[in-house]
């Protein structure tokens, strides 16, 4: 009995050690990012490195917004990601419903193709098309290309969700004389609200994080935040404090969303293995 108990507590210790070992690279990385953004330039280039900012300063964050047009880029990012997510929900939720109801597994496989293809492979023709249409320099090309990320995520998650819903309620509505549109709008949609939430969060995050479309299609005034933060690196004197602060500004909304909505996010990612771009 005693030996059994020793083995058990050894197992527990191993488990905790494993978890600490697995989680610490993530935690230490983000702490170091925070530390860089809160230190002055002298401490950031000190060797050996200064780990805890003393005293912490917000000057780097002020710098980011004062020296660059980060406000514009933030607005651009918000417009692009919200539009791309909104449009994807508008088109993707009914599509997920239709595919689930018609049991169209082939259509579902087609959606997977969008997940498999590298983002760069659509960009050459789309770049030319936007040029011919005179759309370069507006936010429209970014919104349109971000649909490549958001629509498949929404459709994929919604297929799974609608398949899991019991069909009896809609069938009852159909028997009572409702059209399939009414059954969808008034019966299936309200039931699917948690699924729509998951799809919305993930579509938004992966649109927000996207870099590759912006780097090709954005002009000086239409940069999204990831492109803007990359340009801070290339065109400014490299200074670590403002750079880390800019990086933190870009990724903070996503990190906060992940921490607040962790249950929905884990559910969505587990189901679909989704990732943008």
């Amino acid at each position: 009995m005693n030996r059994h108990r020793i083995r058990r507590s050894l197992g527990r210790a191993g488990l905790y050690a494993s978890v600490i070992l697995l989680v610490s690279p993530a935690v230490l990385f983000f702490l170091w990012m925070l530390s860089l953004s809160l230190k002055n330039e002298l401490d950031n280039t000190a060797y050996p490195p200064v780990f805890i900012p003393h005293p912490p300063t917000l000057a780097n964050f002020v710098d980011v917004f004062a020296k660059n047009d980060f406000l514009t880029y933030t607005i651009n990012s918000v417009i692009v990601s919200f539009s791309a997510t909104g449009l994807a929900l508008l088109f993707g939720v009914p599509a997920g419903y239709g595919i689930a109801k018609a049991k169209a597994t082939k259509a579902a496989a087609l959606i997977l193709i969008a997940r498999v293809t590298p983002g760069l492979s659509y960009l050459i023709p789309l770049f030319l098309m936007f040029q011919w249409l005179g759309m370069i320099g507006t936010l429209a090309p970014l919104v349109i290309t971000h649909l490549v990320i958001t629509v498949p995520i929404v459709v994929w998650i919604m297929i799974g969700f609608f398949e899991g819903l019991p069909g009896e309620l809609e069938e009852a509505a159909l028997v009572d004389g409702a059209t399939i549109w009414q059954a969808f709008l008034h019966v299936a949609m309200p039931l699917a609200r948690p699924g729509i939430m998951v799809a919305m969060i993930l579509a938004f995050i992966f649109s927000w994080n996207n870099f590759i479309f912006g780097v090709v299609l954005a002009g000086r005034t239409t940069r999204t935040l990831p492109v803007a933060v990359y340009n801070v690196l290339t065109f400014e004197q490299i200074s670590w404090g403002p750079l880390a602060a800019a990086a933190l500004v870009v990724t903070a909304p996503v990190l906060l969303l992940t921490l607040l909505m962790q249950k929905e996010i884990v559910a969505g990612l587990t189901a679909g293995g989704v990732k943008g771009g």
Binding site: L15, V19, L22, P25, A26, V27, F29, F30, W32, Y47, P49, F91, G92, P94, A95, G98, I99, K101, A102, A104, A107, I111, V116, T117, P118, G119, L120, S121, Y122, L123, I124, P125, L126, V151, V155, I205, W208, N209, F211, P226, V227, V229, Y230, L233, L243, A246, A247, V250, V254, L255, L257, T258, L259, Q262, V266, L269, T270, G273, K275, G277
Partner: protein, 303 residues
């Protein structure tokens, strides 16, 4: 109630299945249109462009398969393929091994499990560009925190991304750090759905934790591990942000993968025809590997 409605009610699928299936397509039509415009049209057009000598300005003469023939001579392209394969193999194997380990850990009950799991998932949710910038600062040979940590435990400093012999392993480390969580989540979802009976029986038989993992969890969760590996493989082939931001394919071309070469060809040298031909080959490569792995997975299911 007429007799037709009665039969419809009795056999809903047979009577209206067909008509309804067609009507449900209307739901998918707008999304299908979008997919056509932003995905299918570009593919067809890319195929067309790959047969032309297409620069951004000037005439675009038809050159047949010349762009494809050029690849056979282009050593830079061939090295990019070799590098892509080696980078991809490493960024699949490491995250899958670590991800399975993490999934097994997170499948057990312990204090703060939810918090630990969320923290573990953060790297894959964070903006890749932002992450890559911070890694770049950490890799700095003189002032970077990583070399400080190495030397303070008595190890020699590394040149990280600043030397052609260490650049790919370093990028593999960043990708592993970032994408192990995705593998963990998929495998964890699989483990959570496994039946409990085999474990209960094994505990009664006095099996060790390793024996239970080796003989119950691993075989039962294997399909999920394969799915995670395929997804990771596709993502690894497509890796762009990390390499672009940290090294831009350098030093020299020593970390230039196919996707980076594609970007340079099309959007730095504006050789859109050759770039399109690379896209076609790249896409066929991805499709081939995906299908191959799906077949492997099906065969696994037969055992």
């Amino acid at each position: 109630m007429s007799s037709t409605t009665a039969t419809t009610l009795l056999r809903p699928d047979a009577a209206r299945g067909h008509a309804y299936a067609r009507r449900y397509w209307a739901f998918a039509a707008p999304a299908a249109a979008i997919v056509f415009i932003v995905i299918l049209f570009p593919w067809i057009f890319t195929l067309f462009m790959s047969l032309h000598d297409w620069k951004v300005t000037g005439a675009t003469p038809f050159v047949g398969l010349a762009n494809y023939a050029k690849m056979l001579q282009d050593e830079r392209f061939q090295w990019a393929i070799v590098r892509t394969i080696w980078f991809t193999a490493a960024t699949v194997i490491a995250p899958v091994l670590l991800g399975v380990w993490a999934a097994v850990c997170f499948a057990s009950q312990f204090k703060f499990r939810g918090l630990a799991r969320t923290l573990f998932v953060l790297p894959m949710m964070a903006t890749p560009v932002a992450i890559a910038l911070v890694w770049t600062m950490m890799f700095h040979p003189q002032l970077g925190v990583l070399n400080y940590l190495l030397t303070s435990v008595g190890l020699p400093p590394s040149s990280w991304v600043y030397d052609s012999s260490t650049v790919i392993p370093t990028l593999v480390m960043v990708e592993t750090w970032q994408w192990t969580p995705l593998v963990m989540l998929i495998v964890l979802g699989g483990i959570a759905s496994l039946p409990q009976e085999p474990y209960e029986a094994a505990v009664l038989d006095g099996a060790s934790a390793w024996q239970m993992f080796r003989h119950i969890t691993l075989p039962l969760a294997w399909p999920f591990i394969m799915v995670a590996a395929v997804i990771r493989l596709i993502d690894a082939l497509k890796t762009f942000d990390t390499i672009y931001v940290i090294t831009l394919g350098g030093p020299g071309t020593s970390s230039e993968t196919l996707n980076i070469l594609l970007y340079q060809t099309a959007f730095a040298y504006y050789d859109l025809g050759y770039g399109s031909a690379i896209v076609v080959v790249f896409f066929l490569l991805i499709l081939l590997i995906s299908l191959l792995l799906l077949r492997v997975r099906q065969r696994e299911a037969w055992r």
